[in-house]
């Protein structure tokens, strides 16, 4: 996967994750172009489209569009389910996630994504394992105690 974008129906970018090195200018250009292209599509249309030399896979959840750019040999359907699994992870973490959760807790959305996808590839597909990693991190934050003791706890948990 080359990048993932989350944007609203109004075209506001909510999350961007780039797995290939691009300049800020290019990123902005791509984002603008894609948001426009995807928003122009009608609801019943298929979830895939060719764009430049990439394949775009997108899906809308409520007010948010999730949009991934994959390469020619990559599998469109499994990418669609990558999106779904990410939505499930967000949903489980925030408890019926909405756009606002992602706006106000954008850093969390990034952390969850990093546990699930790394370098553009699926790292861990088990919902349990991803959420466990995030929750342990939260535990570290909430307790705010000496790291080393928590660390021992994590080790014994896993």
């Amino acid at each position: 996967m080359q990048f993932m974008l989350l944007f609203s129906r109004q075209g506001k970018l909510r999350l961007q994750k780039w797995y290939v090195p691009l300049s800020d200018k290019e990123k902005k250009k791509i984002t603008r172009e894609l948001v426009q292209t995807v928003l122009a599509r009608k609801p019943k249309m298929c979830s895939f489209l060719e764009w430049r030399d990439l394949k775009i896979v997108y899906k809308r959840y409520a007010s948010l569009y999730f949009c991934c750019a994959i390469e020619d040999q990559d599998n469109e359907l499994i990418t669609l389910e990558i999106i779904h699994r990410y939505v499930e992870l967000l949903d489980k973490y925030f408890g019926s996630v909405c756009e606002l959760d992602i706006i106000f807790n954008f850093e969390k959305a990034y952390f969850i994504l990093d546990e699930f996808l790394l370098g553009g590839e699926v790292q861990e597909t088990s919902k349990k394992n991803v959420l466990k990693a995030i929750e342990q991190a939260d535990l570290l934050q909430e307790v705010g105690i000496e790291i080393s003791t928590v660390f021992q706890k994590i080790c014994s948990n896993s």
Partner: protein, 965 residues
């Protein structure tokens, strides 16, 4: 504020985000942001040291501002400071900021790398995870240099925790993608392969991605992954849906891992080990079987995950391209999807079938779905799906269905989305050319393209139609007639004017006999479009006009008047003005002979790859233009150690591939398909030992003349049996009525001819074009005449340079003298070395008796008087034969004139008949010839009668002319 805010919420951040969201205008937002930036800047610069929490909060605000699309030029240092905090939450925000906002500030990179190094060494899995995520997110060369050696160790160390292994694997993958040179292969690679056996499916998932990428570049080192991947896959597909616990996704066991394993297997050819191969085939069959089972859930996630695995399995089947059974099953499965109610599945089925169409095992199976695909083109509401349908039609097209597919594409073009019109135009143009059996169909198709979508017909397309018409004389008359008719339309596209102008300028004479398209009418028609056209088109038309001056002397003054008008001679455009002035002058001062030479018919175009195909490739990106041959080649190159690679020279010569020559202009089935490989292997046929043949005495006395033909027998390999003279008399017939054209062509060599004859003398220019990029060595063309022919025909030539560079053309002049009438044609034998192989080609050289014809005009009375004088049975030769071409009066006339005799009008009492007269000049004698051709339209037959003073002449001329109609 959202109801849930986990972790330690940063209140200040939440307030700031709310403020931004409440801004009523863009200006207000910018104002609020600037205020915040000023605040943060002052905090960072202030004397008071900030505590970790505040630093984290401000860094996070900066990040938010950046993600809104604003530039951030400070705060990096504070973020780097956070990395060395031993509070997890601060470290995490620091890493996030770096991941999103890093730039190659070297000072900073050094500090960042330092922090990462500490975390990697901490042996704290959470910190190690953060550090690895950061490397994977940034992936810069500096990081690769610093960590690419370290990460493999972490990956394979026995005590590394699973989650860290997963991150390490993908981190290494990212570094390998950006900087493969920094990632050393070594002992670790074999241990990485064994991660495919790991108990933890998450580790296997991450490792498979890494192995796939590494295997693409280092196939040998990762070869053992094949059997491990097969057994892993086998265990997954046969597991019950609950076995894999959390790795089962909507009742589908480990779909992501399955897809990745199938992808890994696509880096290799089918497994050699029979057991592994059998197991893999079982897996693929199981996956295909599951597709037929009723769904375990109605959720779309279930079907998507299941079908993702299915499509990847089909990709692997296509990649292997070795199991006809699986290929056909795959095709049937995709056939079902073509009519599925899910748009996504229809789209993917169309896409996947495109590649199936290129397999010889499944091409026919794909073709059975043609009606469904055509229907998709008509009914799909989504343009991207229709686009796939167009692609598939293009891929499944072959000679059997080309007419239907081209017709459907043309239909669709009328309503097609603007975004894909140009591509469809290119595709139609390519298919029409590739599969044209009848070139009139090709001409019709291209003119239709211009009519329907003229704006999308690029230059390449209309250049190409002109090239083809010029190179194929059988279609020239038809093309002239058709463009003439198309130009009658009150509003026609400028591209049509260009094509029409060019073609009529070259071949307008072929239809000028019809009073409805007389020279003046042709000229007026073109000129009526002149003023509406752009400058380049007008320039082209001016050239057409001067060509008309040569073709039709009777309208010379009309054309001169036009050229002389102020709007031309004083045209503001320099190019137009210059053309008008020069053409006018040329037409005034040049003699008829000079005009005829200067404005002669264009010579045939050299063969090269269709520029249209090149354009389509450019448009679609390489590899997406479906061409069986190319896909095979590509596949060969990416299959590691797959099918043995064929040396280029061998494959170009000996494989009679169905598509290698498809886009060559000379691709008429008769003339240029590659010669079949000699079945008897290495033939040492000594063609020249036949005493009946001798080398024509070319440039007699010259020692360094052509190499001795005996050399041929000492050569070991002859790719083509040299005793096969190409296409026998076909080539001769092609040139009976014309003097210029392409004589021969294969993948290596093209031979073009240009010749002129006067009385009993002639001169022929032979052009040898090297189509490859490699030199031909010892290039030796030899003219061979039998003893008998040698006494009637004297050929003289000079040897050519024995080296022909790649892409170069060499020319050879043959001086011809006809001593007495003759029956056979001389043979042109060409020998040369290409790469390591010896090439030997023989073709008949089209020097035929009729070339020495001089036309004789005579009145009706004279004609019949002479006709009666030649009434001796030996003097007459008659042939009744079936028409091989459409019976078109104008074309017939042109052919009789091309044959060399005069065409006598109003001589035969029956106006449908054609009569001609002329004299054959030889050195020893002159032979008067009369001919009469009587067409019978109902029966589609002709009767041809030749009367000459010499029996053999009557016989030969009758033979030659009979083949022309």
């Amino acid at each position: 504020m959202p109801a849930v805010s986990k972790g330690d919420g940063m209140r200040g951040l939440a307030v700031f985000i709310s403020d931004i969201r409440n801004c009523k205008s863009k200006e207000a937002e910018i104002k609020r942001i600037n205020k915040e930036l000023a605040n943060i800047r002052s905090k960072f610069k202030g004397d008071k040291a900030l505590d970790g929490y505040s630093k984290k909060k401000y860094v996070c605000k900066l990040l938010f501002i950046f993600l809104l699309g604003h530039d951030i030029d400070f705060g990096h240092m504070e973020a780097v400071n956070l990395l060395s905090s031993n509070r997890y939450t601060e470290k995490q925000i620091g890493y996030l900021f770096i991941s999103v906002l890093v730039n190659s500030n070297s000072e900073l990179i050094r500090l960042i790398n330092n922090a990462i190094k500490n975390d990697l060494a901490s042996r704290n899995p959470t910190f190690m995870g953060l550090a690895l995520h950061c490397i994977a997110n940034v992936g810069s060369r500096e990081m690769a240099e610093a960590f690419a050696g370290e990460i493999p160790k972490i990956l394979v160390a026995g005590d590394t925790m699973d989650s860290v292994k997963q991150s390490a694997a993908l981190c290494l993958l990212r570094l390998y993608r950006t900087s493969p040179d920094f990632v050393p292969m070594g002992d670790w690679t074999s241990r990485v392969v064994h991660l495919l056996n790991d108990q933890h499916l998450g580790v296997v998932t991450a490792a498979t991605s890494l192995i796939t990428t590494l295997a693409q570049k280092n196939p040998e080192e990762f070869k053992t992954s094949v059997s491990l991947a097969v057994s892993r896959l086998s265990r997954i597909v046969t597991s019950a849906s609950t076995d894999l616990q959390d790795y089962t996704y909507y009742f589908v066991p480990a779909p992501w891992l399955s897809v990745k394993l199938l992808r890994l297997l696509q880096c290799y050819p089918p497994p050699e080990d029979a057991a592994v191969r059998g197991r893999l085939t079982e897996c693929l069959e199981t996956i295909l079987n599951k597709a037929q089972e009723p769904p375990k859930s109605k959720k779309v996630q279930h079907s998507n995950a299941k079908n993702a695995v299915l499509f990847e399995a089909i990709s692997l089947i296509i990649h292997h391209d070795s199991e006809p059974n699986l290929l056909v099953r795959a095709c049937n499965q995709l056939g079902q999807f073509l009519q599925h109610r899910e748009t996504n599945l229809r789209y993917l089925a169309l896409e996947s079938m495109c590649t199936l169409a290129s397999s010889e095992f499944s091409h026919e199976a794909v073709k059975t779905h043609i009606e469904t695909v055509i229907n998709a083109l008509k009914t799909e509401r989504d343009v991207s799906v229709r686009q796939r349908a167009v692609d598939l039609l293009y891929a499944m097209c072959d000679r059997s269905n080309a007419q239907q597919i081209v017709a459907e594409m043309l239909n669709y073009l009328e309503t097609a989305d603007y975004s894909i019109r140009e591509e469809i135009v290119l595709k139609v143009a390519i298919l029409a050319e590739k599969y044209a059996v009848d070139y009139t169909w090709y001409v019709d198709t291209i003119l239709n393209l211009i009519r329907i979508a003229g704006d999308y017909v690029s230059e390449e397309v209309w250049y190409r139609v002109i090239q083809i018409v010029i190179n194929r004389d059988d279609v020239q008359g038809y093309a002239a007639k058709t463009v003439f008719e198309a130009l009658q339309a009150p509003a026609c596209h400028e591209n049509l004017v260009k094509v029409g102008g060019y073609i009529l300028g070259e071949f307008g004479n072929l239809i000028a006999g019809d009073p409805r398209s007389s020279p003046l009418i042709q000229f007026n028609l073109l000129h009526s479009k002149f003023h509406l056209c752009s400058v380049p088109t007008r320039a082209l038309l001016l050239s057409t006009y001067i060509k008309f001056v040569n073709l039709f002397p009777e309208i010379k003054t009309t054309i001169q008047d036009v050229l002389r008008s102020d709007s031309q001679l004083k045209n503001a455009d320099v190019e137009l003005q210059q053309r008008a002035v020069e053409y006018l002058r040329l037409s005034t001062i040049a003699s008829t002979d000079i005009l005829a030479t200067v404005l002669e018919e264009m010579p045939p175009f050299p063969e090269r790859e269709s520029s249209i195909l090149a354009k389509l490739k450019k448009k679609k990106g390489p590899g997406t233009v479906t061409d069986l041959e190319e896909i095979k080649k590509e596949r060969n190159s990416d299959v590691n150690g797959g099918t043995e690679s064929t040396p280029i020279n061998a494959s170009t010569v000996s494989t009679p591939s169905p598509s290698a020559d498809l886009l060559g202009l000379g691709a008429a089935p008769l003339t240029s398909s590659a010669p079949p490989p000699s079945s008897t292997g290495s033939l040492l046929v000594d063609v020249f030992s036949d005493s009946a043949s001798v080398v024509a005495p070319l440039a007699p006395g010259s020692e360094d003349n052509f190499a001795s033909p005996d050399l041929a027998s000492s050569e070991v390999v002859s790719e083509e049996p040299a005793d096969t003279v190409h296409d026998a008399d076909e080539l001769i017939h092609k040139f009976v009525c014309k003097n210029n054209g392409v004589l021969f062509e294969n993948q290596l060599l093209q031979i073009g001819l240009k010749s002129e004859f006067r009385q009993n003398l002639g001169r022929m220019f032979i052009f040898y074009g090297n189509k490859t990029s490699t030199q031909f060595l010892n290039f030796t063309p030899t003219l061979i005449c039998s003893d008998e022919l040698q006494s009637s025909l004297n050929l003289q030539t000079k040897p050519v340079d024995p080296t022909v560079d790649g892409g170069a053309q060499v020319q050879q002049v043959v001086n011809i003298e006809c001593i007495s009438d003759f029956m056979e044609a001389p043979i042109l034998n060409i020998q040369f070395r290409y790469g390591g192989t010896f090439q030997n080609i023989s073709v008949k050289l089209p020097i035929t008796l009729n070339k020495f014809f001089q036309p004789t005009e005579m009145a009706s009375q004279d004609f019949f008087q002479r006709w009666k004088q030649l009434s001796n049975p030996q003097q007459e030769m008659q042939n009744i034969f079936k028409a091989k071409h459409p019976m078109d009066t104008e074309i017939t006339k042109a052919k009789i004139i091309g044959f060399g005799s005069a065409l006598l009008e109003e001589v035969d009492p029956n106006p449908a008949n054609f009569v001609g007269a002329g004299i054959i000049h030889t050195k020893t004698t002159q032979i008067g010839c009369l001919l009469r051709l009587e067409p019978n339209l109902q029966a589609q037959m002709y009767r041809l009668t030749l009367r000459t003073s010499k029996e053999t002449v009557s016989q030969r001329l009758c033979e030659l002319l009979s083949e022309q109609f």
